[in-house]
């Protein structure tokens, strides 16, 4: 049973020593060295890596911020300003963290849309998708909690609005709300626990991301054609081929983020959050974090509080079952002439929902929000199952390498349908 220590795999004896006791070296080699990527993956496949990098940036900057932050209602606002003024490069930490969070959402949104457009959620990657939606939920919770910490006006009133939602739940609502707040009103007890949770959740996200990536690597990445790797010709090794693309993408992201962090660090911030929280003064309109705005729009589109809350959570939870709502076998929208356009409209619609989510819920904005809401659910619950049944997909290329060779030319129409499935 015992393997002889002579089974050497690596020249370096230290690596060998480790490998023999914990085969982590070969694991890394398999997952990030030789891991086969479809050759035709475009830069949308770099967004997962970008999100991972941002997650690390957020965790590191967050830990340093926490060293100087004081979670007390009387001191939180000033301690944040103290970080900005008196801690060496504290402004950089804070702006990296706040803008990093915003970009994290932008990146993850693109990552999710990529998954939807190219059908990455379908067999055999359903679990991978579910873990992704789970990450997204955790991200929303984390960013909400983090937004409360500076204890500015928007922190206070945003948290008031969101925690009030829980009281809409019948029977247990009020009790649940008090349990979450740790008090009858939003106060010091709340701020303390929100800080504790905001500190721990990112590590939970980190863990789930680990599972999420391990899950992709089992069956390999999807690609713009949506067909599987069939031969060695179809793929390239992660190292160095994909790594170099991911690094290039990181540089581009670096430029964009640096422009914002260093030249417009408050562009994405709410001005009211530079006013200390005041329970007696309600801001003229309470807006959601812009990256959560689409769901805020759905919440306010319904006149009934419980209904709004249900639909808002429903809008996210429904994503869990997307793999089973979609009845089409064809993955990539590039080969789905009808669904493709409805998918595009879904993206645009999501964007519009976000826009009205930041406007007062009245008049034309309310109307748009309602139409957007109908399309959101209509697309997922009706169009997706239906179009999969009636649409005739375009013929797929014979293999990835075949597609890759003909990139730019139109895909050969001669391939018969049956040959492909």
């Amino acid at each position: 049973m015992e393997k002889s220590p002579e089974t050497r795999r690596y020249k370096n004896s230290f690596l060998n020593w480790i490998e023999y006791r914990l085969p982590i070296i070969s694991y890394m080699e398999k997952e990030y060295g030789d891991y086969p990527m479809p050759k035709n993956c475009n830069y949308f496949w770099s967004f997962g890596a970008l999100a991972s990098i941002l997650l690390v940036v957020l965790i590191v900057s967050g830990i340093f911020l926490a060293m100087h932050y004081t979670p007390h209602t009387d001191m939180a606002f000033d301690s944040v300003e103290r970080i900005m003024r008196d801690v060496n490069y504290g402004w950089l930490l804070r702006y990296m963290h706040s803008n990093g969070a915003a970009f994290f959402f932008i990146i993850v949104y693109i990552h999710i849309l990529r998954g939807m457009y190219y059908g990455s959620y379908k067999y055999p990657r359903e679990l991978n998708w579910i873990l992704g939606v789970f990450i997204y939920l955790l991200m929303m919770a984390t960013s909400f909690l983090g937004y409360v910490l500076p204890w500015g006006q928007m922190s206070y009133w945003g948290a008031t609005v969101i925690t009030n939602l829980f009281s809409a739940i019948p029977v247990i609502g009020e009790g649940l709300k008090t349990w979450i707040l740790g008090d009858y009103t939003l106060g010091n007890a709340t701020l303390n626990r929100f800080f504790a949770l905001h500190y721990v959740l990112p590590f939970v996200i980190f863990g789930v991301v680990g599972l999420h990536i391990a899950a992709v690597h089992v069956h390999g990445s999807n690609n713009p054609t949506g067909i599987d790797i069939k031969s060695k010709d179809d793929s390239v090794k992660f190292f160095p081929y994909m790594l170099v693309k991911d690094t290039l993408a990181t540089c581009v992201l670096g430029v964009v983020i640096a422009v914002v962090i260093f030249f417009g660090p408050n562009l994405m911030a709410e001005v009211d959050n530079y006013i200390p929280a005041d329970p007696l003064v309600t801001p003229s309109h309470i807006v959601a974090n812009w990256y959560l705005a689409p769901f805020y729009a759905i919440l306010r589109a319904i006149p009934d509080k419980l209904g709004g809350v249900t639909l808002m959570f429903g809008a996210i939870l429904i994503l869990f079952v997307l793999p089973w709502l979609d009845t089409s076998k064809t993955k990539s929208c590039n080969y789905r002439p009808v669904y493709k356009w409805f998918m595009m409209l879904f993206f645009v619609n999501f964007f519009i929902l976000g826009y009205v989510g930041m406007k007062p819920a009245e008049g034309i904005y309310l109307l748009i929000a309602r139409l957007g809401l109908i399309y959101y659910f209509g697309f997922l619950l009706v169009l997706t199952p239906l179009i999969g049944k009636i649409e005739t997909p375009k013929s797929l290329p014979a293999s990835i390498s075949d597609f890759f060779m003909n990139k730019g030319n139109n895909i050969k129409e001669s391939k018969s349908e049956t040959e492909l499935h």
Binding site: E81, I110, C251, Y274, Y355
Partner: protein
């Protein structure tokens, strides 16, 4: 898909701006510290401090500032000591358990005009003059807004119901503000011979407040340019490597 991505990348950071009420009608002023390389005009910040000390500090605190911060805007240690010594703060308790008064030191925070919010309200008809430390960050388009506000006092238009003790101002939400026009031509005498017209006073005090809200602005931009250059140069190198590597694949 590619076009969509580009659209998203460019639109998202502006999302907030899009959602704001269109501010385009508000006049914009030219500031020494705007743009990619702008820096604070030291003389203007120093004049602004004088305006703050002689006018605004009668009602508004700036609690986040220390006197020692003034070294950043070109004052010497001695000058800062002298400025701080103009103010009295209550310290203590001392060895006898008593609170006592002493002149402020550079390591003290700016002394507030009122002991607490209640006292401030009583002296201002019930209105609360907000702390000005980060005021330019606490209003949309803060610097331009403040500048316009200070110059924006007018006679109310025909039929405008103005509240008791309120003043008409074009730029404040609801068009009435509880602050009497704080500045006018000649309110503050400058030592450096700059003309003390109203627009000049307003520009200087706003420049001072902008510095106070973002004292890191200059170093931030300086580092920013280096970081951007780093990513561009590193990116070009990576791009060349990538082209080389993928040539074989293609």
């Amino acid at each position: 898909m590619r076009i969509l991505l580009i659209a998203i990348i460019f639109l998202l950071p502006n999302y907030n701006l899009l959602a704001e009420n269109s501010n385009s009608s508000k006049p914009k002023h030219k500031w020494s510290f705007s743009g990619f390389t702008g820096t604070f005009d030291r003389a203007s910040v120093q004049r602004g401090l004088k305006v703050y000390r002689e006018v605004c500090s009668g009602c508004h605190s700036m609690k986040l500032l220390y006197y020692r911060d003034l070294i950043d805007i070109g004052f010497s240690k001695e000058q800062v000591k002298a400025i701080a010594a103009d103010y009295t703060i209550i310290d203590g308790p001392n060895d006898e358990g008593e609170m006592f008064e002493r002149p402020a030191r550079p390591s003290d925070r700016f002394v507030s005009p009122f002991a607490n919010e209640q006292e401030a309200r009583v002296s201002n008809n019930g209105a609360y003059p907000p702390d000005l430390s980060v005021i330019t960050k606490a209003r949309k388009n803060g610097v331009d807004y403040l500048y316009n506000l200070l110059l924006g006092y007018k006679e109310p238009p025909e039929g405008f119901e103005i509240g008791e003790g309120m003043y008409y101002n074009k730029w404040i939400e609801g068009n009435q503000i509880a602050m009497a026009p704080p500045l006018d031509e000649g309110y503050v005498d400058y030592d450096d011979g700059t003309e003390n017209t109203l627009p000049q006073l307003a520009e200087d005090v706003v420049t001072f407040l902008a510095w106070s809200a973002e004292p890191e602005l200059e170093i931030r931009k300086k580092i920013g340019i280096k970081v951007i250059l780093f990513f561009i140069i590193f990116g070009i190198i990576i791009y060349l490597i990538k082209q080389r590597l993928w040539r074989d694949v293609n």
